[in-house]
Symmetry: C2
Subunit: 154 residues, 2 copies
């Protein structure tokens, strides 16, 4: 994402191309800087059987940043992120658009890169809060990811 | 779902109408009987940045059955299910269609209904395995749901 996504609109396009389902969800990058992204998923189109936001749409906005920020921070020709596990806790029903602000700080990024270089892989965790437009936390999440080095070609 | 979904095709239509995102995912009910459903999500259209099934598609197939089976078992004019939390563990990359077989047995259903009648709500848990077409478990999940009685109208 480093080269191809200079703006939030570019990053949105790159993410939706990588994972088409995120386009159906209407996921958007609102702002970004190195190691940080703010994302939004609209309420419209993402409702469930009781008129609140579908659990899977809330999952998606919390799951994406671990991978997207890793692709932004770590050269994707050398490294790629995968998700290992995810726990989501639904706190309040969401009835508006929702946002999440996620980051990996510079010291963590250095640790992750060094460990992946030494061992071929490095685990990292993202704890996030998804909020509605009134600032209420509607879901919290804990995602466990792994950054891996591409194996050399045979 | 009891009345409106006599066949798996009917149930698929009801679920996709309740949660439009599940139509985008291509989620399908393959078979059903009282308290039990087998679901499928296709690989086609649900890929991620590394060519395996998107984590959110795997989440969705495991999240749906708790609600869908509850709607089937418990009269939706009296009760409705909500999800409280969900933990998913990604075991192997999925590169085929995936299925899940989920059930709530009769004794559990009786306990859940009685507790909701007594307290207005009842917690229940679903532990599931999502498998690929070769039978490999690609993801396990633990979902915590709650069955609630509709409050009487004011």
């Amino acid at each position: 994402m480093t080269d191809s996504a200079a703006s939030p609109a570019d990053a949105t396009a790159v993410i939706r191309q990588a994972i088409p389902m995120l386009g159906h969800l209407g996921l958007e990058v609102l702002s970004m800087e190195p190691g940080r992204m703010t994302l939004r998923v609209p309420f419209a189109g993402n409702q469930n059987h009781v008129g609140t936001m579908y659990a899977g749409a809330l999952f998606a906005i919390a799951e994406v940043p671990g991978g997207a920020i890793a692709v932004q921070l770590f050269d994707p020709t050398i490294y790629y992120p995968v998700i290992r596990s995810m726990t989501v806790d639904y706190r309040r029903p969401a009835t508006t658009d929702v946002t999440v602000d996620a980051h990996i700080d510079a010291a963590d990024a250095d640790r992750i890169r060094a460990e992946a270089d030494a061992n071929g892989k490095a685990d990292f965790v993202m704890n996030l809060e998804v909020t509605d437009t009134g600032g209420t936390v509607v879901m919290t999440s804990r995602g466990e990811y792994q950054l891996r080095r591409h194996r050399p070609a045979d």
